[in-house]
């Protein structure tokens, strides 16, 4: 799963407040290489731009999970494929 794909995804657990399912929190085995917020004047920061480019265009999540920000429900990612299916009870 690329980050650009993640940008489209939203949790669809029933009963969430509007917008409550986005963005899904990406959980990986290791910490991110990016700072939590872009620094002011990030356009001039070569190192940051390199890392940003890498994350946007070169990184794919193969194993991990996506966590719904409101409900905490986790959707697994395996072999690069997120499984967003809800169970019978949830749907």
């Amino acid at each position: 799963m690329k980050l650009l794909t993640h940008n489209l995804l939203s949790s669809h657990v029933p009963g969430l407040r509007p917008g409550g399912g986005f963005p899904l929190r990406i959980e990986l085995g290791h910490p991110s290489e990016l700072p939590p917020e872009p620094l002011p004047n990030y356009e001039a920061d070569e190192e940051f731009l390199r890392r940003l480019h890498h994350v946007l265009l070169e990184v794919e999540v193969l194993e991990g999970s996506l966590q719904c920000p409101d409900s905490g429900r986790r959707f697994p990612i395996s072999r690069g494929v997120p499984n967003m299916l809800l169970t019978e009870d949830e749907a």
């Binding site: 489209l8 995804l9 669809h12 072999r79 690069g80 494929v81 499984n83 299916l85």
Partner: protein
Amino acid sequence: VGCDRSKNLVDICGEKHFQAFVCDALSVPIRSGSCDACISIAVIHHFSTAERRLATIQELARLLRPGGTALIYVWAMEQEYKNQKSKYLKEKNGSKNEDKEMNTGTAQRPLSDQGPDNSSQDSAWSDQLLKDLKDESHGAKPVADFRLPVHTNRTSFHSQDLLVPWHLKGGTKKKEENVDTVLVLGGSKESQELSPVFHRYYHVFCEGELEAVCRSLDCVRVQKSYYDQGNWCVILEKL
């Protein structure tokens, strides 16, 4: 980005490095209004009630941004249209595509089944139906009047709601527990052989039906409506 209900099929997309995820068409985990375009090819005809079919189209519309467009293909009841037979009817048995599944992702036709076995399935009723009939005659709980006929591949459709057989060609797919095995009611030795058959539900659409369902929604406009090789098709625009 692509999605499908079948994890196994989506995994194949992943192996080919496409962006895809597993979900149900009735609840697509994508932000509303985030798509410029969506396609739904040979999907909606698998939903078993008019309500569910409408709901999938509503869900599709939700994903579109205003001005965004959707393309929907569903199987047509009319496999012969304007005196032209569709490819589905025309193609003879013995299709070369041995390893392809019956289409879930394409508007093309399912593979023809093996030639000789198929002819003896003309009066095909699934094993489950035969069981139900037996139960009924023994005074067990009443079986619903509603029967789903099992289709004979590569022939025209006689009912809008039906089961279409798909033969598992011994290979990569896991066998499911309650899969019907076809007991071919013939006499030859060949016909004694059991091969697992899956019965897939289809609701084939009549002329105008898909368009009418789409027109019942306020949030989209039917831009185009046409017939293409045994499919009814619409192009919708989100208002």
